[in-house]
């Protein structure tokens, strides 16, 4: 298959996935009890009179059937009209624009950190001369995985913000403000990447070509850094692309602790309040992002590994 045909086919698949995700979440949300408007209507503390309820129901299309609502909202989504939050009336596009830039910056930095961390851990675990250090470092991914993020975040805040006063815990100070949350997030997502990387490096290190490189007189650092690393990190790359979702899930807690209003926090709030338009928009956005990133990884593969051909 040609590269072009591949891109076309994969893009079609990607669109299908986004649409299916949308439909699935729509159906589930519709089946669930509760929604902020209905809640307001049936609030036990403040049952609204019929005269007020009617306009609200009509205003929010709650009188339509499932299918009608689905068609209406899908139609609006396709034309770029994502509606308003049911909870706070903010246009969903505005909410997402703010949250997205925040989270993308956070997630990108976190991904960067986690790549550096994972590399550090994996390289130490595989190459460090002292065996005891290697086995301790090897256990790190499991430790990372089982340490609650909020504890990591809190400790970082205590040290760097509360004690040392290097960064504000509440104010946006540009890039520095991203460092601690990104680090916290990175620690949460590093574990699986580091694990796969350790396996990949161990395997690559035992390949016969390493002996040949050594016999050539190539310095050990070059062997490790250029050859073993490149060969051993291919599986970790796939995984890194898959962690996009984890980054978002992790962002929920990290953003709460570091007081950042990114997609994570908005998601949590929206799901908590069943703010359907916001949830739907996030699903579309995130799944589109996810499939896009994975599409790009697939396209990048052949560049890194000449043995793989697209399609």
């Amino acid at each position: 298959m040609s590269r072009r045909a591949f891109v076309v086919r994969r893009s079609a698949q990607a669109l299908l996935v986004v649409w299916l995700s949308y439909t699935l979440v729509f159906a589930v949300l519709f089946v669930l009890p509760g929604n902020p408007i209905r809640d307001k209507i049936t609030n036990p503390l403040n049952p609204l009179p019929e005269s007020v309820v009617r306009p609200l129901i009509e205003y929010y299309d709650l009188d339509l059937t499932l299918l009608e609502q689905y068609v209406v909202t899908l139609g609006r989504t396709l034309t770029g009209d994502l509606g308003y939050s049911l909870v706070n009336g903010i246009p969903v596009t505005e909410l997402l624009a703010q949250g997205l830039s925040e989270t993308v910056a956070l997630a990108t930095l976190a991904l960067l950190f986690s790549v550096v961390l994972a590399l550090g851990i994996a390289l130490t675990a595989v190459f460090f001369p002292v065996a005891a250090v290697r086995s301790v470092v090897r256990a790190l991914p499991a430790v990372f995985l089982s340490t609650p993020s909020f504890l990591v975040g809190f400790v970082l805040l205590v040290v760097f913000s509360f004690q040392l006063g290097w960064v504000s815990s509440i104010r946006d100070q540009g890039l520095v403000s991203y460092v601690l949350p990104a680090l916290t997030l990175a620690i949460a997502v590093t574990a699986p990447i580091a694990q796969v990387l350790i396996q990949g490096l161990s395997r690559a290190r035992g390949e016969p070509f390493v002996t040949v490189l050594k016999a050539k007189g190539v310095p050990p650092a070059t062997i490790a850094g250029r050859h073993v690393l490149k060969n051993g990190s291919i599986p970790a790359l796939t995984l890194a692309a898959l962690t996009v979702g984890d980054l978002l899930a992790g962002a929920t807690i990290v953003e709460t602790i570091f007081n950042r209003t990114g997609i994570g926090l908005i998601t949590e709030q929206a799901v908590r309040e069943q703010d359907t338009p916001v949830v739907m928009a996030i699903v579309v956005l995130v799944s589109a992002l996810f499939v896009a990133i994975n599409l790009v990884t697939d396209l990048v593969y052949p560049v890194i590994d000449p043995r793989i051909t697209v399609g």
Partner: protein, 279 residues
Amino acid sequence: MTAAGIAVPATGFRLREVSVTEWLALAVVTLLVVAVVAPGLLTAYDPLAPDPAAILQGPSAAHPFGTDYLGRDLLSRVVHGTVRTMVGSAVAVVIGLGLGTVLGLLAAYFGGVVDAVISRVVDVLLSIPGLLLSMVVVVALGFGALNAAIAVGVSSVAVFTRLMRSETLTVTGLPFVEASHHLGGSRRQVLIRHVFPNSYSAVLSLTALQFGLAILWISSLSFLGYGAPPPQPEWGLLVAEGREYVVSSPWLVVIPGLAITVSVLSISRVSQFVKERVL
């Protein structure tokens, strides 16, 4: 492609080859088993009984792990919480593993339409943020520890399916699978006898990690108020609750947190040990 990629356990092991860390891990796992089977052996306190005279006390001889906001003994709560925690994570992992394995196996082995359908489902599941997915599932199923565990399990199905699919694809291409067909094996026979057991070991490695992840994930749901109902203790819940007191009573978070970390490390060490030397 050779079978070199497949991890194969060696036969037999000798006791003196068990290292110190492995002994420690075994000891922790034994403690966990005791905590599940006979928690009374490890602590005399009632995990549910408040003691107004001992509210929010730090670790001491009387209460080695300190006490919580109602004066309940934390050691006792951690010990009695083991069952729920282990069962919760086990349910999550079993669902993720079980469903994921079957789906992955089917997708890879049958290919074609089956593969296309399963792969799209997996893509959909992967593309919805995990937390959102599990919250939605919990809300749909109703609250409670079991449902939270199911939600986490469902959210991890996709990862397992993917891994299982790629492992199965690798194994299906190996000569011994064809050899078995050549010896007269039907699709089903070969799938059960060779493909599945050989694809499984990589997936099992993920399971130990996923076990720890499940505990934390369930506790994340607890943070957000989706967890087990009070007053029954559960580690994730203990961590989540203790969070509010972390400034003045850090042990409420640190001790259950350490319990999770140490257990996860020990379980994965032991499972690795079992995989390498016993099975």
